[in-house]
């Protein structure tokens, strides 16, 4: 941190008051809940904790969560790079409309987006009869959950890349082209290395949200135990069954995911910080 100049420094009591307030809220709203999740999970011993995690329905929920994330994240990473590339490096009509569309999932409640999928793909939906006739299951099955998750996590990568790519401009790409590079070579050798940390950052945020998404997935999943319950949905089911230890054990896994995400995020910020100081 840069030293604070005396002219902008507040008196001691103001500083103590502000810092105290910040610490108080941090403890009350973050540390206490986080601690209580683990405390509840281990309340009846380590054995029960691991049993709750390895029990069949829990394993199926973890597997489903990983599957959804494994499809969603690469898709949205590809989409995000493509969208950011188009928006940052080209001028075209309808650009602001595209930007607004990318932001749409942030603006719409996830539950609403889930309901929209039901209206389109559900049994009474627009495409419902056709899907049924061809024996394709989307709602209350994996495809629907993937679609809902893709929609909700649409903006993360693109939003991370667009400002960076806009700030970098296109000169390096033009330089590569004038040196004889093809479009793909230019992307591979010039664009991608310049955005790799922002891309990684967007991907971990996207992944965290994809694994943690509740609202949209809840609507399209149908809550079939051992089949269409992801980890967050499984936590809700257990909680409603008053199975506190198992509920908190599964919740603790999601919390760990969050902590890992934060660690990676900090690591990336540290890395890119180093690079900035270099140049």
């Amino acid at each position: 941190m840069s030293p604070v100049s005396r002219s902008t420094q507040d008196p001691l009591w103001t500083r103590l008051l502000l810092i105290g307030a910040a610490v108080f809220f941090l403890v009350l709203f973050l540390l206490v809940p986080l601690f209580s999740i683990f405390a509840e999970a281990f309340k009846k011993g380590v054995a029960l904790y691991f049993e709750a995690l390895t029990e069949e329905n829990a394993r199926s929920a973890v597997l489903l969560t990983l599957t959804v994330a494994a499809i969603t994240v690469p898709f949205n990473a590809l989409f995000g790079v493509a969208a950011a590339w188009v928006i940052a490096k080209f001028e075209f009509r309808g650009k602001s409309l595209l930007l607004a569309l990318i932001d749409l999932p942030f603006a719409v409640s996830p539950v609403v987006s889930g309901l929209c999928y039901i209206l389109v793909f559900g049994a009474n939906g627009v495409l419902g009869p056709w899907l049924q006739a061809h024996d394709i299951r989307i709602i209350f099955a994996l495809p629907g959950m993937v679609l809902a998750t893709i929609f909700v996590t649409f903006p993360f990568v693109a939003r991370e890349l667009i400002p960076l790519m806009q700030a970098q401009g296109s000169d390096q790409e033009y330089a590569a082209l004038s040196l004889g590079a093809s479009g793909w070579q230019t992307f591979r050798r010039v664009t991608l290395p310049n955005i790799k940390w922002a891309l990684f950052y967007g991907i971990i945020l996207c992944n965290a949200r994809a694994m943690g998404e509740f609202g949209a997935v809840s609507v399209v999943s149908g809550h079939i135990r051992g089949e269409t319950n992801t980890l967050p949905l499984h936590v809700e089911v257990l909680y409603n069954d008053y199975n506190m230890v198992a509920a908190f054990a599964c919740a603790s896994m999601l919390s760990l995911l969050g902590l890992v995400t934060l660690l990676l995020k900090t690591f990336i910020e540290w890395r890119t910080g180093l690079r900035h100081r270099h140049s």
Partner: protein, 340 residues
């Protein structure tokens, strides 16, 4: 190699960046595109490099008699050096220079040994040997500029295009690099076009100066000819150090450079004007006078020798006579209202 440009137009929305450019550049020349910002010079350079294209059907570009108008940058083999260099930050100096060779398709890519030899040779040429493993962020502005130059030369370009090559450098480095580029160009002999808004730079460096204004070419010629015989009022004013004056009782404007004004004693009957010395400063062998005309309230700059200043014993506030030097027949510009 020679470049021929015919009737080139470029429009951005409703803005006409280039309105019919015709230009012929001979092989091995060092050409300056000179003009104020917004005159279209950078757009023109980018179109030459294939980074932008003329309005469809409006204009033709030939490099060594080959029509390259529709050819994309990657196929055109023009070395382009960007104003802020656009070096690849994540690659070393060596990798930057080797880039154009490394991206060639396999069957025409030199093997890694010849690529290395070529890069080493180029880095020697731009006097950066030994810095090949540095990252661009570890170089000074002048060094980055030369890496960009070496990178552009690696592809054996048919022409070299430089966008404001000294724009981002401080005055001292600018001067050194300018001198260096002049001898460098003599050594490699590649037809080179550079964009600048600094008339000093253009006049000192180029074989041919192209003066642009509002998307059109105002004048083309060797620096001396352009300075001595400006074709339009714009060129006269843009080349700097020029006075606009009106002869008493006549409406037409004159352009006259400071050194073309003779200073006489106020009592001298051969004077065309009389004026009062408002400011005077002598640096080295010449002195610059700022004079105010009593009838029109306009100010005029005049350069005289230090010797004359001392002999006449002039000081601020003195009344003097002015005479337009008869040795400069080109002094009166066309009687047009200046554009600015």
């Amino acid at each position: 190699m020679s470049i021929l440009v015919q009737n080139l137009r470029r429009t951005f929305g409703s803005f006409q960046a280039l309105r019919g450019i015709n230009l012929e550049i001979q092989s091995h020349q060092l050409v300056a595109l000179l003009g104020p910002s917004g005159s279209g010079k950078t757009t023109f350079l980018r179109i030459l490099g294939g980074l932008d294209f003329p309005d469809p059907g409006h204009g033709k570009i030939l490099i060594q008699n080959e029509d390259v108008t529709e050819q994309p940058a990657a196929d055109r083999k023009t070395g382009f050096v960007f104003q802020h260099y656009a070096l690849f930050n994540h690659l070393t100096v060596f990798e930057n220079v080797a880039f154009g060779l490394n991206v060639r398709p396999k069957h025409i890519r030199p093997n890694s040994n010849s690529i290395r030899d070529r890069v080493v040779e180029l880095l020697q040429l731009v006097q950066l040997d030994g810095l090949d493993q540095r990252l661009p962020s570890e170089l000074s502005g002048g060094q980055r500029q030369r890496v960009a130059l070496a990178r552009a030369l690696a592809i054996d370009p048919r022409v070299l295009l430089l966008d404001e090559p000294f724009g981002a450098l401080d005055a001292k480095v600018r001067k050194d690099l300018r001198r260096w580029l002049r001898s460098f160009h003599k050594e490699i002999g590649v037809t080179t076009v550079f964009v600048t808004h600094d008339q000093q730079e253009a006049l000192e460096l180029a074989d041919t100066v192209v003066i642009m204004n509002q998307g059109q070419i105002e004048q083309v010629g060797p620096p001396q000819e352009i300075y001595d015989h400006p074709a339009t009022p714009f060129v006269y004013e843009f080349l700097g150090d020029v006075n606009k004056l009106r002869k008493p009782g006549r409406p037409d404007l004159f352009y006259v450079r400071p050194h073309e004004i003779q200073i006489l004693f106020a009592s001298d009957s051969s004077a065309d004007f009389s004026a009062r010395i408002e400011h005077l400063f002598a640096a080295g062998p010449s002195a610059r006078l700022t004079l105010r005309m009593p009838n029109t309230r306009e100010t005029v700059d005049a350069d005289i020798t230090r010797q004359q200043l001392d002999e006449m014993g002039l000081s601020e506030g003195d009344e003097v006579g002015l005479k337009l030097a008869t040795a400069s027949p080109k002094a009166p510009a066309p009687a047009v209202t200046p554009s600015r």
